[in-house]
């Protein structure tokens, strides 16, 4: 089962949409999104669909495990679940947190290779570190923007090495502000076209994301 995951993540030709759709019947990338907020589910689903991803959205960690066949009730893994290429989960959820879900996924031989991204509106350093240490690929600040998801799918799903090293060198976006985004810092509208090849420069946004490839956070970014 781990092999299946690896096969689906191989590099694809450059003329594909970010989420791997061509007209030639090659499968799309499948993202499993987990969030207890109905508003956030709607938004993340649209963000991913606009990048031509196949999306499954569930409202809890336990439903995510059910879908993956990891809930202990179902001994055989669902066919659909085999093809999940990325899991994006909210951190704060009732019942099972995103962190607990992350641990269960990383503890499973079938699914531990699938990249997991945590989303949260609270930038608590200890929380971020805990998630990265447990194997999360990235910790995204909410509200999640198109540019965040586009960059993510580009290097996680297309496996573009240059994107990874570019991100690895960058510790934090230039404006790493805390909670309240001021009205004077809107990001200039970026076209959500699937074939956009613009590198996403987050210097105009006030949100931060953290990845495992970045070094310890500079002092400027305080925990909330």
């Amino acid at each position: 089962m781990a092999v299946a995951g690896a096969v689906l993540r191989q590099n694809l030709p450059g003329n594909m949409d970010l989420c791997g759709k061509t007209g030639k019947g090659v499968p799309e990338f499948h993202v499993l999104a987990v969030d207890d907020s109905i508003v956030d589910r709607k938004v993340i689903e649209k963000l991913l669909r606009s990048l031509s991803c196949k999306v499954t959205v569930v409202d809890s960690g336990s439903r995510a495990l059910q879908f993956l066949g990891l809930d202990g009730e179902n001994s055989s893994v669902g066919f659909d679940a085999l093809k999940v290429n990325l899991i994006m989960t909210d951190y704060s959820m009732p019942g099972m947190t995103g962190y607990e879900l992350l641990k269960k996924i990383k503890g499973s031989s079938a699914f531990r290779e699938i990249p997991v991204v945590i989303m949260s509106s609270e930038r608590i350093l200890a929380r971020i570190n805990r998630c990265l240490e447990e194997g999360a690929e990235e910790f995204l600040s909410k509200p999640v923007k198109f540019s965040d998801v586009e960059r993510l799918t580009r290097y996680l799903l297309r496996g573009e090495a240059d994107e990874v090293s570019e991100f690895g060198k960058r510790k934090l976006p230039k404006n790493c502000d805390l909670e309240v985004s001021s009205p004077s810092s809107p990001s200039s509208p970026s076209s959500p076209s699937p074939s956009s090849s613009s590198s996403s420069d987050d210097s105009s946004s006030s949100s931060c994301s953290y990845s495992r490839s970045s070094s310890p956070l500079p002092k400027r970014c305080k925990s909330v």
């Binding site: 907020s37 109905i38 508003v39 956030d40 709607k42 938004v43 649209k46 963000l47 606009s50 704060s92 009732p94 509106s121 909410k142 509200p143 923007k145 198109f146 909670e179 309240v180 985004s181 009205p183 004077s184 810092s185 809107p186 990001s187 200039s188 509208p189 970026s190 076209s191 959500p192 946004s205």
Partner: protein, 155 residues
Amino acid sequence: MELGLMQRRLEDYTKSLFMEGLLDAQFLQLQQLQDESNPGFVGEVVSLFFDDSEKLLNELTSAMDQQIVDFRKVDSYVHQFKGSSSSIGAQRIKNVCILFRNYIEEQNIEACLRCLQQVKQEYYHVKSKLETLFRLEQQVLAAGGSIPAIEVTSF
């Protein structure tokens, strides 16, 4: 009214919501996601937000009304409201929620009750404005026009 005038009115109205700080860049994100394949996207998200918010506000009111206030529960509701309002770009609601959570941490009941009032006011205010916005959009679309893309570079 002539289409060009309607579009201008819509544009001005939309800009005013940003100028007043009612909406922030996240709302623009939603507008950019809207396209021909899903022309009602923003309206759908906002509609979900309205339904969700009314439930949350009811729960919040009830929780604050208890003899012994369960602050963890209240915090959970406010956190949710902060999250959803932030996701649609309802900046003022979000900011009141941030303040609200500070008072929850202090377990300051009076201040929390004030915040509850304030958050309701902000909610109904932005709800009314957004409903007007969608009405203006519908008028433009019905007249055969398209929604002008808003370039908000300075406000």
